[in-house]
């Protein structure tokens, strides 16, 4: 579903700062993987590149069969709108909008008509267990509920791949568990889910763990399994 081939990312400066050193990774449909690494290891940069929010200095990014480098900015935006979902640690809900309208925002840029946006947003809120909180504003919701709204917003566009950057980072562990269960459930519907985290206990609950250190993938349980199968 997402494929990174030999991705290098450098930030200009003297000397240039290289944060990714030839990373290659492939995530299949319905896979639930975690990318684990310390702060500054390059995992968020990798997520931004996989999510087409940032360009690599070199290397190839393929999302849902499309080489991102070949896309114009507007086509890349359309790809994000239709095929990619994002969940962030800070939720990024708009305080003036109800939960329903925040979720419907997930469809605003994909060309879905207003009426259908509301219907699908209501469905997505039911999926994340917030069918009874649709009219509430973010300020009236708990942290866990806010993150569920954010997940519903990412899901409402039925993305092929969902990137979650520290999705439980602002939550207590019980609430974090329920969010992880929700993300695990999403992977079973065929959406690839990649969770970026510094917390190895969260990583342990995903099907595949990719460890990143100083811009290099140092361990990939998926490839270990493959290697084990071959051996």
């Amino acid at each position: 579903m997402v494929e990174l081939v030999d991705i290098v990312k450098e930030y200009s400066g003297t000397p240039p700062l290289r944060v990714l050193h030839g990373v290659s990774l492939s995530i299949g449909a319905g896979e639930l993987i975690s990318v684990v690494g310390a702060s500054g290891s390059g995992k968020s940069t990798m997520l931004a590149i996989m999510g087409t929010l940032d360009d690599p200095t070199s290397g190839t990014v393929i999302v849902d069969g499309t080489d991102v480098a070949a896309l114009a900015e507007r086509d890349r935006a359309a790809l994000r709108a239709r095929r990619i979902g994002f969940v962030f640690q800070q939720f990024f809900l708009l305080p003036a909008l109800s939960a329903l309208d925040n979720v419907a925002l997930g469809l605003l840029y994909s060309g879905v008509a207003a009426g259908e946006r509301s219907t699908r947003a209501a469905e997505a809120l039911h999926v994340v267990g917030l069918g009874h909180r649709m009219r509430h504003r973010p300020g009236q919701l708990s942290g866990g509920e806010q993150q569920r709204v954010a997940i519903a917003r990412a899901l409402v566009g039925r993305p092929a791949v969902l990137f979650a950057d520290e999705p439980t980072g602002s939550l207590d562990s019980a609430t974090g568990d329920s969010i992880l269960e929700l993300l695990t459930g999403i992977a079973t519907t065929g959406t690839a889910v990649a969770i970026i985290t510094h917390d190895s206990s969260i990583a342990a609950r995903t099907h595949r763990q990719v460890a990143i250190h100083d811009g290099r993938i140092v361990d990939d349980s998926g490839s270990r399994r493959l290697a084990g199968a071959r051996a």
């Binding site: 940069t45 900015e73 507007r74 800070q90 990024f92 003036a96 925002l105 605003l108 840029y109």
Partner: protein
Amino acid sequence: MIRLSPADQLRTALIGPRSRPLRTALSALGIAVGIAALTAITGIAASNQAQLLADLDALGANMLVVQPGQGPDQVVVPLPDTAAAMIGRVEDVQRVGVLESVPDGIGVYRNDLIPAGQGNGLSAYAAGPAFLAAIGGSLASGSWFDESTRGLPVTVLGSSAAARLGITQPGVRVWIGAQWYTVIGILNSAGLAKEVDTAAFLGDDWSRDNVSEAGADTIAAIFVRVAPGKVADVHKVVAQAANPVSPYVQVSDLSDFAGARDKADSSLSSLAVGLAAIALLVGGIGIANTMVVAVLERRGEIGLRRALGARPGQVASQFVGEAIVLAGIGGLVGALAGAIAVFVYAALGAQVAVVPIEVLVGGPLVALAVGVVAGLYPALSAARLSPTIALRTV
């Protein structure tokens, strides 16, 4: 390419103002003040203008006043007794009314006990039965001179003269030039012919026989009513007709006064436009400032929208849209407030309220344009913001 519908664009542009209503109100206020100033002052000028035209219509804009002029030696050159008759023969002259002077030092007093110095700024003139119709004047009460009263010790007071003497009804006596006169009529205001308002009129026959010295030159002014549209034509020849032997004849056109006031109003209007432009500039800077702060504060939202598939142009149009909403609210509120100010002003002055439609429509449109300009820079900086930086710096 996916485009947002106009309704979606509006909804998106309203998110910022809905989140921060107080800030929205304050930023819109600057624009509102500018548009209110523009609407109010142009509206007040237009109302004055309308009132002036109404005054002129009441008085008859087709009026010339012929008066004795001063010669090169600063001595007044009197008009000959035949002047009125000569003017009456000029083509397109409809009516001629003669205002005759009485000797200097004849004051108008409420009674014989008032000291001579307290003349109230009133003057005495003499006039015949035809004068009132010639100036288009009307009576508030009582009657004007007729053949029987023009030779009697009676007087008709102008509206200001009656007010200053404290007289509201005919029948009382006033003291004019050491002689009692009975008030037989009080005039309505004659509009631009202010000297009529502050006059006490004596009958012309009475004046000639009892007040003026025999053989004195008595024509103070000749009011000439001209066929509509012929004022300029008559203006050219009337001096010659009034006094064929002397060029020292003063002819004034009441619409000259109108023109002068008109000019005063239009200079007031350009001052207003200048003030409004400054207020709009300040308002625009206020909006730009608000939008710059909004872009800084809402980096997370900008990053999120980019992650949700918004193109840079869509982010830019959201922020321009917000600036337009702020300015539009200010423009509408300002136009409304300005119009209310005009109506209050007109009501206080018992005038007709006129708010030019082009100002009422144009003001808010100008405000929208200010919004576009003010929102442009912040919107472009929002669009240029890299989504990763926007998401990271929250």
